[in-house]
Symmetry: C2
């Protein structure tokens, strides 16, 4: 580690209160993209924090005349762009930090032990929706840049930021933004928005992401909820939905939709090598989720292979009829299921969506019996494991955390595919989120010790890419 790093690290240690305070400010802005709430406001608050950090910041819209109206349904929320050009190394490499300021909905609200938008600090923890995903990650990037500027008046490499507001609903417009601002976003490497720290405090450097296809199935029955005594005469749409769902997946998790796995590319030998050596705390994982075995009873390397490279078909939501306490005897007018399918290279979301429609038809469910709506789709992506930036990021992480782990792909989804496609650069995920930090769940938290280390790690990366 260089002298410069040591100075920066000291500043980071001293300034942690300011980091946490800015993170709380961001958490307190409930920017739930699924509800299209608070997005423009959050972008503005974020922009202020970035400006205060010394970053040249702009709020960008996709369509010029829509400025200021990004909370409206049909108008894409803005992205926040930031830039600092290195004085000492203006022609050196440029890192683009990709993050998002939107968060998942806070439901189920009654399971939170703190206000989800409070940013409450308890000991080493900051609680709140977005405390980890992704406001916690974002603040480590901003602060690494801020402390360089405050200590030296410069940054070792050029940095850019792109912070979007639709990641949690599938980054609907990120590809359009990348296309529109392609030149502005020109860079050499993307540091991805997110990364896990495992149960042994090792960062997992992930080189890929699964894709996602999110669909909603709807079955309709009588034109209003009917008295359930009529169940003998009126077809219940919830039964039809259950039958349709039951054709799609077997009890071991295998997806029964025709040709679902047809386009899946196998792991490369280099990927298999890494996957086979990935540590995985099977027992800790099971304990955390209160389960005693994995789906289909997979273990060891097979579990890791599945996690990294297997497509899924998941029921994210089911709703029909009366769901409150007690008994209500109705025959519901409507039944819906939200399904999310994780995709792997080289599955094409639009093609997989068509396969669902064909499957339902071939199983006797017309478009009228089960309506299928595409909520969103994005393809999977992977950065080659032998890219030189991968080595630099790993070395930076090792210096701060002692060790780190390379992963071929996260099991999660993000819009890595358009970044690779439009910008043509490697994308490397690294971040501060403890693996059991309850992201997307009640009582999400970030750990202050990990925020501290990741800020140091990002600072280290900025220094190392020019070495």
């Amino acid at each position: 580690m260089t002298m410069l790093n040591e100075i920066i690290n000291k500043t980071i240690d001293v300034e942690m209160e300011g980091l946490v305070s800015d993170l709380q400010t961001l958490i307190q802005c409930p920017s739930v993209s699924a509800k299209r709430e608070g997005l423009v406001e959050c972008a503005k608050i974020l922009s202020d924090i970035m400006c205060n950090a010394g970053i040249k910041t702009e709020i960008l819209y996709l369509y010029n005349n829509y400025s200021g109206s990004g909370d409206k349904k049909d108008i894409p929320p803005p992205v926040v762009y930031g830039e600092v050009r290195s004085k000492s190394n203006p022609n050196g490499p440029t890192i683009l930090f990709y993050n998002h300021y939107d968060v998942q909905p806070e439901d189920p609200i009654d399971l939170w032990e703190v206000d989800p938008f409070s940013g409450k600090v308890e000991g080493n923890y900051v609680f709140g929706r977005g405390s980890a995903d992704d406001k916690g990650e974002l603040i480590t990037r901003i602060k690494a840049v801020e402390y360089y500027l405050k200590n030296t008046g410069d940054v070792p490499c050029n940095v850019k930021f792109i912070i979007e507001g639709e990641e949690e609903i599938g980054s609907i417009h990120i590809e359009d933004y990348l296309e529109k601002y392609r030149q502005k976003l020109d860079c050499d490497v993307v540091i991805w928005e997110f990364g896990y720290i495992d149960a042994n405090d090792r960062p997992i450097i992930s080189l890929g992401m699964k894709g996602l296809l999110y669909v909603e199935l709807t079955a309709r029955g009588p034109r209003r909820d009917a008295h359930s005594s009529l169940a003998v005469l009126i077809e219940n749409p919830a039964w039809r939905l259950v039958r349709a769902l039951n054709t799609m997946r077997d009890k071991n998790g295998k997806i029964l939709i025709k040709d679902w796995y047809k386009d899946v590319r196998d792991f490369t030998p280099e990927e298999i090598d890494i996957v086979s050596n990935e540590p995985f705390d099977e027992q800790g994982f099971k304990k955390e989720y209160g389960i005693n075995k994995f789906l289909n009873d997979v273990r060891g390397v097979e579990a890791i292979k599945a996690y990294v490279g297997m497509p899924t078909c998941n029921i994210a939501g089911l709703a029909s009829g009366y769901t409150n306490e007690g008994a209500k005897t109705i025959l519901p007018a409507i039944a819906t299921a939200k399904l999310d399918f994780r995709l792997v290279p080289n599955m094409v979301p639009e093609k997989q969506f068509e396969r669902i429609k064909i499957h339902l038809r071939e199983n006797g469910f017309s478009d009228h019996d089960i309506e299928v709506k595409l909520i969103h789709g994005e393809a999977a992506a992977r950065t080659p494991v032998n890219d030189p930036f991968v080595k630099q990021v790993k070395e930076s992480a090792n210096e701060v955390f002692g060790t780190s782990i390379i992963s071929v792909s996260s099991a999660g989804t993000g819009p890595m595919h358009p970044f690779v496609k439009v910008l043509g650069v490697p994308c490397i995920s690294i971040g501060s989120t403890y693996i059991f930090a309850r992201i997307h769940s009640p009582n999400e938290f970030s750990r202050i010790d990990l925020l501290n280390k990741m800020t140091k790690c990002i600072a280290n990366i900025m220094n190392k890419v020019v070495a």
Copy 2:
């Protein structure tokens, strides 16, 4: 029709505003038994209305020391008892009016066009939860007695009232109440709480009720909602629930649970005769519910037979995971289904419940995989079609409505079985509810013209049973 009837009918016509006003007072008391809300308060308001009508009224509790606490979960809500002894005919027959003051929940609230607890009057309609079921029916009984007393200072026959607060959640304690107050409730015939008026304004006099078994199936997964990227490793309880449900019923409505139909008794020849001649406006019915065919495409007499005498298995509610707008990628911790099964004579609810548990086990779902909870069960009952009171009620209805229809059994459920078992008397359903009055649904209403006629009909029955 007698002179006495004519006097009473005239009073009923003159006093309709008072009837509607008292009905509104009852509707404005949101006595939702599923939520255990407002029950004691509604019983008190009802008791006031009955006292004002000249009925000797008492609020009865099942356990003496629980008086006043009937909104608490584990304490049965009170029943309202009423009595008027005939001065002119004290040793003549006694009619027991059975009704209920509780209502179904108002959900889905956003589909109501009026406040469900307003009792808003528009032309011939009174809107609101309970306007028909059962506060509308109840007011016709009370007013028939009130107008006799106000005009003549007497009633032609002895009348008693038993008005309970748990009908919409399966009359959990009615049998206990009947046992406890058996002598007080001694009577010769029960006039049931409810009855439909068909699309041609003919009352349907129903002599039976289906039984009901209401169960909740619960599947549990990880101990909290998890990120759906984990769907490759963690079993999703919603999928397990879907698979379990799918084993229980085929697409034509046939229940696949072993021995489900074993105890069903066939129609008697007299019942078949009545069923075969029941009018049924198939087209009107389909139009009302916006469907183009019945389940399993049954038609004509087969549809009536099914409606009157076939068991059902209905999904009344399904819930799991994220059900709001947009996308949330979670693997839910829990999935539940509410199922209601309509039973026919001689199915025993407890026995059928055991059959469900055995079925699930035999299909590979342990008690741990799918928890099955009995919400409530009640058996079916039928009064013999040739009982002499049936004839008197039919004649009374014919004189007011011009004509009427006898039905072997309603497709709905009520606690007729304990009345027959404990009191040993015939139970005859007749009421003022238009067949498309949206009971249990948003925008429930009663028709003022039918409330008027049913009050006259009840008054006529009181006179005719002593003739």
